[in-house]
Symmetry: C2
């Protein structure tokens, strides 16, 4: 089932980039290595100049693909959410029991990504770390509303809508399916962040996962 990705392409809204990085070797190297570099030095420290040096290419060449490093982060985020949506769909597809289906969905969106699927130049395990640490910055800007209108966040919104629909399938009288879905998604990332950096304000650790926490929270709210 996973091999579907050999035939499908993760679709990122095309207004995010100037030139589709999937269409050239340089483009792929930009994506592959930006993930590695952002993870190493953080988004604030990351520059196109440093990336150029890392991939033995020129700063100006990277600008042909992305207008700014902010757009590149949005590309990476969208790519990740699309990839996660794909995981969500294939892993829940065959489950007919709606309760079970929802639990699987929560598992998929709140778990750690620890294995790289190896189907492309993108290392999902490292990308996942970037999502935990940096993805909020892709929408917490003065340009959100404009960028939202341009469709930059479509993938993210569709993913949340999907989870929300699974919540409704379990209990269609529940008044906050969208809020619960968005809380599970962002909250999942946040709990993982706390586990790594602020262990004194979370109960999550390696054995007691955010997944457990959010499944319990959801089940109690829907019954």
């Amino acid at each position: 089932m996973k091999d579907l990705l050999a035939v499908l392409k993760i679709a990122v809204p095309d207004k995010i980039f100037i030139k589709d990085p999937e269409t050239s070797d340089l483009g792929k190297r930009i994506i592959e290595n930006s993930i590695i570099l952002i993870n190493e030095i953080g988004f604030e420290g990351f520059t196109f100049k440093k990336l150029g040096k890392k991939i033995g290419s020129n700063e100006s060449s990277i600008y042909r693909y992305f207008e700014s490093k902010h757009k590149l982060l949005q590309y990476l985020s969208s790519w990740y959410w699309a990839w996660l949506e794909y995981q969500l769909v294939i892993e829940t597809f065959s489950i007919s029991n709606s309760q079970e289906k929802l639990e699987k969905a929560i598992t998929v969106v709140t778990r750690i990504v620890k294995e790289d699927s190896n189907y492309s130049h993108i290392n999902e395990t490292i990308l996942y770390k970037i999502i935990v640490n940096e993805s909020s910055k892709s929408f917490l800007t003065k340009e959100v509303d404009l960028e939202n209108k341009e469709g930059y966040f479509e993938v993210y919104k569709r993913l949340i809508t999907r989870v929300s629909e699974m919540i409704e399938a379990v209990n269609n009288n529940y008044p906050f399916p969208l809020s619960l879905a968005s809380t599970i998604l962002e909250g999942g990332l946040h709990q993982h962040y706390l586990k790594d950096h602020f262990p004194s304000i979370t109960n999550c650790k390696s054995e007691k996962t955010p997944t457990e926490f959010f499944i319990q929270l959801t089940n109690n709210s829907l019954k």
Copy 2:
């Protein structure tokens, strides 16, 4: 009861600043106007040069108070959390019923700040907006662990611990009091952000508040 703040001072960890802005007129103008300016142009667009111009002072003078704009944001965040902790304490102090107390606590930490208490140069209503839009950036950096060791986030952690204790008072068998408390706090901010910028992925609007959502979520989880 609110007048306590005339006598008490909001305490921000002193490693965050070089010189305490509360100790001078210039310092107070820095704080007062940085809040206004960050709200206007966003944290990314904000610079000490622009702030200097706004307050009719010199860039280099601002550097005598804060090492960087990042530290200034951490100061504002800590100040806000301390102020919120104060609100939390006074508004829940006299409630003896633990269930009722917790609901009040959730109300305090997830509601909009729409009135400025006017006791100081700090406009809490505008500061609250900055917290919604920018506060995540104060800890989502490569320096978190170092800064955490230095005590920069003590106020934030104490606030969450307090809410967590109120959760435990209602049900001390609940396995995730800290995670629930941190989810309520960050989730509250996030739902307000969604309401303003991504209404299609939240059920919250002006009449149907994040407070309602989180109270329901909590009650269902603890019973």
